[in-house]
């Protein structure tokens, strides 16, 4: 599984966290739910939008839905959907690169 190497700040940001029960990586969507797929995430292009998303996520942290809330750099893929920029975040999105059998794609398929 290849990981794109880039530290461009990215044109936008998405909010990520770990779901509290399973610990799995999740992303905050526009309707306020959490998705396993960063492509479903709400994409903030301004500082205000990012702050609003973060506030919503922190409320979910206080309500014990998620842990380790973070705003991370993102860009849009060719279909216009958000995708994280940093290696670490891409690996969180895909699962361990050394166990593709256990990744998110495998779990979904």
């Amino acid at each position: 599984m290849s990981v794109v190497n880039s530290l461009r700040p990215g044109p936008g940001q998405i909010v990520t966290a770990n779901e509290i029960m399973s610990g799995r990586a999740v992303w905050l969507t526009a309707d306020g739910s959490w998705s396993d797929d960063p492509r479903a995430a709400a994409f903030a292009e301004s500082a205000e939008d990012a702050a609003a998303l973060l506030a919503r996520a922190q409320a979910d942290n206080a309500a014990s839905r998620v842990e380790l809330v973070a705003l991370v750099a993102a860009e849009r893929d060719t279909d216009g959907r958000p995708w994280p920029v940093r290696n670490r975040e891409i690996i969180r999105a895909l699962g361990p690169t050394v166990r593709p059998d256990l990744g998110k794609e495998a779990a979904a398929g």
Partner: protein, 551 residues
Amino acid sequence: MYRYDEYDEVIVRKRIAEFRAAVSRRLSGELSEEEFKLIRQMNGVYLQLHAYMLRVAIPYGSLNPRQMRKLADIARRFDRGYGHFTTRQNIQYNWIALADMPDVLEALAEVDMHAIQTSGNLIRNVTADPYAGAAVDEIDDPRPYAELIRQWSTLHPEFSFLPRKFKIAVTAAPHDRAAVRFHDIGLILRDDPDLGRGFEVIVGGGQGRTPFVGPTIRTHLPEAHLLPYLEAILRLYNEHGRRDNAYKARIKILVHALGAEEFARQVEAEFARILPQSDDLPVRELARIRAHFVTPDFEALPATDPSFEEARRRDPAFARWVDRNLAPHKRPGYAILNIPLKPKGGIPGDATAEQMETVADLAERYGHDDIRVTHEQNLVLPHVRLRDLPAVHEALVAAGLATANLGLVSDIIACPGLDYCVLANARSIPIAQKLSERFAGTAREAAVGELHIKISGCINACGHHHAGHIGILGVDKKGTEMYQLTLGGSADESAAIGEITGRGFDAEGIIDAVETVIDTYLAHRDAGETFLATYRRIGAGPFKEALYGAH
């Protein structure tokens, strides 16, 4: 094998009940993330990139088959069918749901296991020579001492909030298989012709951001004085260790700042003060603990076995495996069997539930119920009869555990790195896998012989890269995974910290760079000379030239 007493049992059960309550209080929102984090970490639970990780203590790396089977059972029932044996002689699970954690801890408690002392700023799980009780070169079994330290340090009220974590390793053999010079305290048991039995005490070794080979502060400490002396060291550290800066909080920084001599002087002063007040409890305790480490019921056997010799002649694969993975046992007719968890292209230290069960079965059938975990992420059956080795080999082949590569290029240590770890800068495992793919089982690997490659995904150095003959450190350079190369490190009695060769390499380049280093060694070595010996003789120059060209 040591059995828990009632006291341990009570502590463990109480901790699980507390943890269960904490989990439900976090889930109900009563505890904040920060509050809960402190509690979960005290119970060995970390939140990693994809899931919760549970680190289970394996005191001095010693397991019985029942415990190993329980580890397999947990892997299957609560994880995804595997576990990861670490450089701390522990096991980590990568995928356990928070709600299951208390049940997993209960399951562990059924076999006298727990996750206490696997995290936090306290005295961590004590490690020891994995060949303890079997090695030809040991003067005694070091595990009773390790157990004494474990009991003394478990939930020690004075030392539960140290400036930083604290690791102690014990060996009783001249060949150091426990990396004692890279621990906060390293202990080497020796018999002195004049002074009798005692410990060499090494303090302030360690890896991480500021690596040190620990200096010796006492060449001979009578065994009866062990605990008061450790207490003196810990008290000094507890008072003067730097709590203001996590990067400077380990005891190695204090020892280095004061100088080993001055540090030793202050320890001796405190020791002299407390010694008269200490009773002989440790000595009595030691006797009680020793009684639990029963010497296996060894058979009186001749030094060789005809069926073993016959299998060696007949089966080249068996012969290679024997030549590589066995170590001499103190009893004739027995061997110490290493089981590398390093299959070609595999993930260092990972074992499936089925593999754990195979090892448990073999230990039960052929190995006096004894299993060890090494800091090189391998397993050991310390007591196997030579005549049983063909059957053991056959079972290991079937389980994918018969790789004949102990100590060779493909016997690589690698930390979880960016595939799992929240602190990582780069991936470690794929580098190990690519190196293994290139070298494992090749004639070149056999020609190179003893060579230890160690890989860490960040400067915390869980993959012990500083102590690798070839060390690889993953860094993040402007968003790209890059790898620094160090040469000449060593973890045994020739302990040394590797030197950085120069600028780093990308993920492809590092594989070629290792190949270049190996080529250079082969071109320069004298007959029978190991990589480390050649490196020490010719220095870094020829390697740097081969890697970067003449400047």
